[in-house]
Every structure is written in structure tokens, then in C-alpha cells.
Amino acid sequence: MDLEAIRKIIETHGYQKASLIAILQDVQAKMNYLPRKALLQISKSLDIPTARIYEVATFYKAFSLEPKGKHTLRVCLGTACHVRGGARLLDTLENLLGVKAGRTTRDLSFTLETVNCLGACALGPVLVIDDRVYGRIRADKIESILKKYR
């Protein structure tokens, strides 16, 4: 746990209470999740009650209080992807990985997430693995895509 790194993040935001969300975003980007110790330190440095930080950290979807897997799979469930079978894609992935959306596989290799719309509607249904966008996914293509990451 790199407390010094967290101090630096808080410092770049000038110890501003209004920058809480931006600070949490930066910590999440660095650590891949929001460790409890980091939240306690932010609470102390900004003089914001831990309960309020917890409130913010659990309200916004971008934050996770649990460590994430090596690869993050995000299934777009926007309307355009939905009408082209996004929910079925999620179902199939849940079955294949053995975890529900929002959870991480036990070997910490994959985190399965959903996202509301990536704005790549023309390519629906869309699956994003880490930063790579896979468009027009059909059920029969999933296995071969996953293989690249296993």
C-alpha cells in the first residue's frame, strides 16, 4: 500500500474538498480499486468524515471497493446493444466465466462488468476488454476472443 502516492494525488488537487471525486478517480486509476486505507487517509487529509467518503465511493459506478481482475470485461447494455442482443451476450459470458456481472473470477483473471453505453452504438453488441473494443459480437465468437486473454 503506497500511502505516499496517495498523498501526492491529494496534493495535486490542492487538498480541496470539492475535488473528492477527482481524487478518488485518480486513486482508483492507480490502485485498480479503492483500498480502505486510502479512504481513511483521504478522510484525514481533507477533513471529511469517512462515512461521507464511503457514501461517494459507493454512489458512483466508477468506483470499486474490491480488487479487480487482471482483465476487465465490460458488456455494453445501452439500448442499441440491447436490441442487438447485449443481454444475451452478458448471459453467455456469465455462464462461461461462472461469475455474475460485477464480480471477479476466483483466480482474479477476469472482472465482468456492465456499462450503460459506450457510444459505439453502430457496432452493437459491444464488448470491451481492458481498452480494446470488440464490436458486432455474436455468441459463437466469444470463446475465441476470451482465449486470447486466458
Binding site: 471525486i21 477527482a22 439500448t79 442499441a80 440491447h82 444475451r88 453502430a122 470463446e143
Partner: protein
């Protein structure tokens, strides 16, 4: 890099230098590098064009430009060769050399990369002749394809910051507000409130300081025009906000942008830096008394933050819960100071109104809705993408003339407009002219401009359930009607989709809807019943089929369908057997296969892969 400019005249002469330096006859290639085309490999394509250009020794002869979104995302990556305006589609790195040579030496057009009319099979070389573009009126969105969003000079050269120049040199703040009022511009984020009136109220409100906000928390699933504007033409948003700052006497503004839009954030960040360096943003803009600072805030992934008061709470570092608007945000908004919030597309309209004048602007559109609107035309449609059309165009023109109709010969069923709080409109309303008021009368709304086309395979009860679930997850939970109402509606709709619906469920849904409309705190809750009410209004028979006959007419609800293989039609090719992730299909080669319903996950993989229509859904 130029020096800080200190007067409108200086900017004007800089623009004429830029324009003089551009040779209109010089071949140039625009490569779309918006998010849609990037997902199809546009980044590699830009690299390929650059290295081929070097290898072919064409660096002096052909200009290359990575631009923002051109709109026709379905056929990306898109490449346009100027000055002829030849549009190539689905271009791959292997095509780069050929396209470059054609551009440089004016050889024959590359037939295989051209748009093919789905009806006549005719090849259409020029962008402007393609039906998708021909019937649009690309006033706001049109510049996207002409400029590199990371180069401020590109924007200035096509007349950018001219409206700002005019405002600073010739107009009083009052005149600017009057102009916006007379233009009839209404908020493009969905509310449709007259922008000029909002500006006037903000200018009049008393406070220590005034804030401007650009709402780029584009959360409506299926809508991405704001992202494409921010990515492709960030300076037009900055210019619009500068004009607003002058009119409303504001010194500080924020752009609240979704965290899911990294390219928009980086292009806008760069645009702000460039505008500051040129003296167009910051202290004493172009030497005038106008001082305006602009900051970017990234959202945390909460749909409700698109609501103005929730967005302001989020900007203050709190959870994004809306508040009751007894006092409007133009009087007490961010940090309790007068605050004017407009959506991305609204801000982008401002420079155009100032520059081209009220008379021109009001000549486009309908009585109550002026100008154009950008829609994202997505779902079951041939040419998916972003389209900008004059208000008053009919749904039929958009779906069939611009979008090319429904793919694979299936039938149109409905079009959903207005995002999760909008409604589904049936075939009988295809001739409805689109504007703010007409859509509302039909039980839907303009929203931010998502248009999702659905065909006969989409179940309308499932659509209603989809939106209710979406909103249920996104409801902030502050007020009971929205929090509890959505929960109950979700349960009822799920029950219906699973074949366990009861006869009284329809009445119950309607009663819940009325309560939510009357008593919710913000418009997320009060418009949330729209998808349910509009599907009940136009597709009641589908609800009844689910409840009474336990049947899904669209063959989409998993619990009401089963898969099997027709032994007469099956050739035993083995395609379905290979794709089935559940190993539910068995059979020998060239003999009819068997599907085990006990193992079947109903993922449709076999249905999609079968070339002989042997996989049946019942």
C-alpha cells in the same frame, strides 16, 4: 505557435493568413478517427496512411488529417478524399497506398471501397450524394469532417471564433441575449427550455459570481452526439461558452463530461490549452474586458448526474442527488450562485446563430422548434450513425431515406426516442414531424436525441423492462416514488416476461405510473413511466399475449421460448454443434442434429449460425 492575440482585428488577420495559406485544390485526405471508427481500427489506419505517404514520397503533395466523427459509423473506418469529396468506406491499412495514389494523381476511383446503394446496387463516389448525407442538414455537425480537433488553426481557418469576434466588437451583452431569444433556440439536452430566457434570468439573478456549465454527462444509452461534438469539434463548444460568458457576465465555467469518454476529455483538454495560449480563453479575451476560465470535470458514472441539480452537487464533490427546484438553478445553482447550464449541442448552436444571424436560423425548423437536431440513429437500421436534420422532418424520412430502412428484410416495429425516459412509437406514427411538442404529444420526448429502431424480433414488454431496470439502477434513491415505484414496476414486468404475469398487472402498472409522474422529486422519476405507458398505449396486445397466452410474439423472452432443430431442414453440417457453448447439440456429420433442451442456454448462437433455417424458436 502564434503569440497571444490581443484584439479581434488580430484574430481576423491571422485567419486570413491561414486561409491564404490553404490551397483549396491540393489533395487532402480526411480519416475519421472518432470513437466508432477507432473501434474498427482507425488508429492503425492513420499510422498506415502516414507511413505509406512517406514511402511513396507524397508528403508534400497530399495532406492528411485525422478528424472527428463523420457520422456514418456503420461503415467505418471512413476516409474522404478532397477536393472531390470521394468517400471510401470500411478502409483497411492495405488500401492506404492505393487511396493515396488516387488522391495524388487523380486516377480512377477505387470502386470496391465506395458506398453501394442498397436498393439500386449503384456505386456512389461522392460523400454528398450518398443518401445518408444527402437528406441531412449538417449545420452544427458538418465541420467535424473538415478539421483536426487537435489543431486550433483548422477551426480558425474554417471561420471559427468569428462569432466571438463579432460579439466582442459589435454587440452588447443585452443584444446577445436578445438574439438568442429571438432565434427560438431550445435546450438540446432534452428539456427544450428556451435558452435565451434562461440566459436572461441568469444575467438578472443576483450573486457573488455567475457560473456556466456545459452538461456533457451524456448518459442516455444509444445517444452519442455530444461525445462526437466534443471529440470532433471542441472549439465550437468553447466559443459558445465564451459568448455565454460575455452575455451573462460570468468568469468561470465547467464542462462536466462522462468518464467513459476518454477521447473527448483529451481533445477538449488540448483545445482549452490552445485557446488559452492564443488569448481566446483566460484573462482579457482578445484584449477585451471579458475574463473566462474553463475547467473540465470527469463524472463518476451516474446517470442521474445529467440532471442539473445532481450535476451541480457532483461538481461540489458530493453524491449526485437532485434537489427540489423551488428555486431555479439560474438563481441559486453551483455553490448557491446563479448558474446557467446548457447541454453540449446547445452550446454548439450559439456561434452559428450569432454568425449566420437570426433570420437564417429561424428559417430552419418548425413553428415551436427552430434549427436542426442531431440524432443518433441506431439499432435495427441499415446505415447506423449520427444524423443532423432540420426540426420537422418525419420519422419515416429519417428511417428510410437517411437510414436506408431495416436490414435483412425484417419488418419495422417501433422507434424509441428520448432515452430511458422517452417512449416507443409504432409504425402508424412514422409520418409524425419531429419537434419538441409533437413528440411529447405522442407520449415520447425529444430527449437528447437517441433514436433506436426496433424490428419484429424485439419484444416491447422486454424493452419496457429494460428501461425500468436501467432507471431502477440509476435512481439515486432519495425520493420514495421513484425508488420504490421503479422497484415494483421492475418486478411486475419481469414477472410478465417470465410468463407469470397476472391479469391485474396492466392496471397496476398504470396506477404506479400515475403516482410516479405526480410525486417524484426530479424528472428522472416523473418521466420514468414513459417507456411503460407508451408501450402499453401502442403495443398492449403484446402485454396481453405474455399474460394470457404465456407467449412472446417477438420470440425474444427466454422463459417463453424453446429451441429445437427441424430434422427435415437440417443438413448435418455441424456448424451449430461447433458454436454451442453449452454442448447441447449432438449428431453425426450429414445427419440431422439433435438439441437437448435441458442443456440449452438459449444464447441463439446456433440460430444465428445456421444457414438452412433449421434451428427453430418456439
Amino acid at each position: 505557435m502564434v503569440q497571444r492575440m490581443t484584439s479581434p482585428e488580430e484574430l481576423r488577420s491571422y485567419r486570413s493568413i491561414l486561409q491564404g495559406a490553404t490551397d483549396g485544390d491540393k489533395p487532402s485526405i480526411s480519416i475519421c478517427a472518432g470513437t466508432g471508427c477507432r473501434a474498427c481500427g482507425a488508429s492503425d489506419l492513420v499510422d498506415a496512411f502516414e507511413s505509406r505517404r512517406r514511402e511513396l514520397g507524397l508528403s508534400e503533395k497530399v495532406e492528411l488529417r485525422a478528424t472527428g466523427c463523420h457520422g456514418l459509423c456503420e461503415r467505418g473506418p471512413l476516409v474522404v478524399v478532397h477536393p472531390q469529396g470521394i468517400c471510401y468506406m470500411n478502409v483497411t491499412p492495405d488500401d492506404a497506398a492505393e487511396v493515396l495514389t488516387q488522391a495524388a494523381h487523380g486516377g480512377k476511383v477505387i470502386e470496391r471501397l465506395l458506398y453501394e446503394d442498397p436498393l439500386t446496387r449503384e456505386k456512389i463516389p461522392r460523400e454528398q450524394d450518398i443518401p445518408f448525407y444527402r437528406f441531412q442538414e449538417r449545420v452544427v455537425f458538418g465541420s467535424n469532417g473538415k478539421i483536426d480537433p487537435t489543431r486550433i488553426d483548422d477551426y480558425i481557418a474554417i471561420g471559427g471564433y468569428q462569432a466571438l469576434e463579432k460579439v466582442l466588437a459589435e454587440m452588447s451583452p443585452q443584444e446577445v441575449i436578445e438574439t438568442i431569444k429571438r432565434s427560438g433556440l431550445r435546450g438540446r439536452g432534452g428539456g427544450g427550455f428556451p435558452t435565451g430566457l434562461k440566459w436572461e434570468a441568469c444575467r438578472r439573478a443576483r450573486g457573488r459570481e455567475r457560473f456556466l456549465i456545459c452538461n456533457a454527462d451524456e448518459g442516455d444509452p444509444g445517444a452519442y452526439m455530444d461525445r462526437s461534438l466534443l471529440e470532433g469539434n471542441p472549439h465550437c463548444i468553447i466559443e459558445g461558452m465564451l459568448i455565454g460568458a460575455y452575455a451573462m457576465d460570468s468568469r468561470e465555467g465547467y464542462v462536466y463530461v462522462r468518464n467513459e469518454y476518454p477521447l473527448a476529455v483529451s481533445n477538449l483538454t488540448r483545445a482549452i490549452e490552445q485557446a488559452e495560449a492564443y488569448g481566446l480563453l483566460g484573462k482579457h479575451v482578445l484584449g477585451s474586458n471579458l475574463t473566462f476560465h474553463l475547467k473540465i470535470n470527469r463524472g463518476g458514472g451516474a446517470f442521474v448526474c445529467g440532471e442539473s441539480t445532481a450535476l451541480m452537487a457532483s461538481l461540489e464533490g458530493r453524491v449526485g442527488e437532485p434537489r427540489a427546484k423551488y428555486i431555479h438553478t439560474v438563481e441559486q445553482g453551483l455553490w448557491d450562485q446563479p448558474t446557467n447550464l446548457n447541454n453540449v449541442e446547445t452550446w454548439a448552436n450559439i456561434p452559428i446563430i450569432i454568425h449566420r444571424g437570426v433570420d437564417w436560423y429561424t428559417s430552419v425548423g418548425t413553428e415551436g422548434s427552430k434549427g436542426t437536431k442531431i440524432f443518433s440513429l441506431v439499432g435495427k437500421i441499415k446505415d447506423t450513425g449520427l444524423v443532423e436534420v432540420p426540426m420537422g422532418i418525419t420519422l419515416r424520412q429519417i428511417v428510410y431515406r437517411i437510414g436506408g430502412g431495416i436490414p435483412e428484410g425484417r419488418r419495422f416495429k417501433a422507434i424509441q426516442t428520448g432515452g430511458p425516459s422517452g417512449g416507443c412509437l409504432p409504425e402508424s406514427l412514422l409520418d409524425l414531424p419531429i419537434d419538441f411538442d409533437r413528440l411529447q404529444e405522442a407520449g415520447s420526448m425529444m430527449g437528447s436525441g437517441g433514436m433506436i429502431v426496433m424490428d419484429e424480433e424485439n419484444c416491447m414488454v422486454d424493452m419496457a423492462r429494460y428501461f425500468v431496470r436501467f432507471l431502477q439502477e440509476e435512481s439515486c434513491g432519495k425520493c420514495a416514488p421513484c425508488r420504490e415505484g421503479l422497484q415494483q414496476m421492475g418486478e411486475i414486468l419481469t414477472r410478465i416476461c417470465e410468463g407469470a404475469g397476472k391479469n391485474e398487472d396492466i392496471g397496476l402498472l398504470e396506477a404506479l405510473s400515475r403516482t410516479m409522474i405526480d410525486t417524484s422529486l426530479c424528472s428522472l422519476g416523473s418521466t420514468a413511466p414513459n417507456p411503460v405507458l407508451s408501450t402499453l398505449r401502442y403495443f398492449r396486445d403484446e402485454y396481453e399475449a405474455h399474460i394470457q397466452e404465456k407467449r412472446c410474439p417477438a420470440k425474444s423472452c427466454k422463459d417463453l421460448i424453446s429451441f429445437n432443430i427441424d430434422p427435415q431442414a437440417c443438413t448435418g453440417c455441424g456448424a451449430c454443434l461447433r458454436v454451442c457453448p453449452a454442448e447441447a447439440i449432438a449428431g453425426e456429420k450429414k445427419k440431422a442434429h439433435l438439441l437437448d433442451p435441458g442443456k440449452c442456454m438459449k444464447c441463439r448462437a446456433c440460430f444465428e449460425v445456421c444457414k438452412f433455417e433449421a434451428v427453430k424458436i418456439q
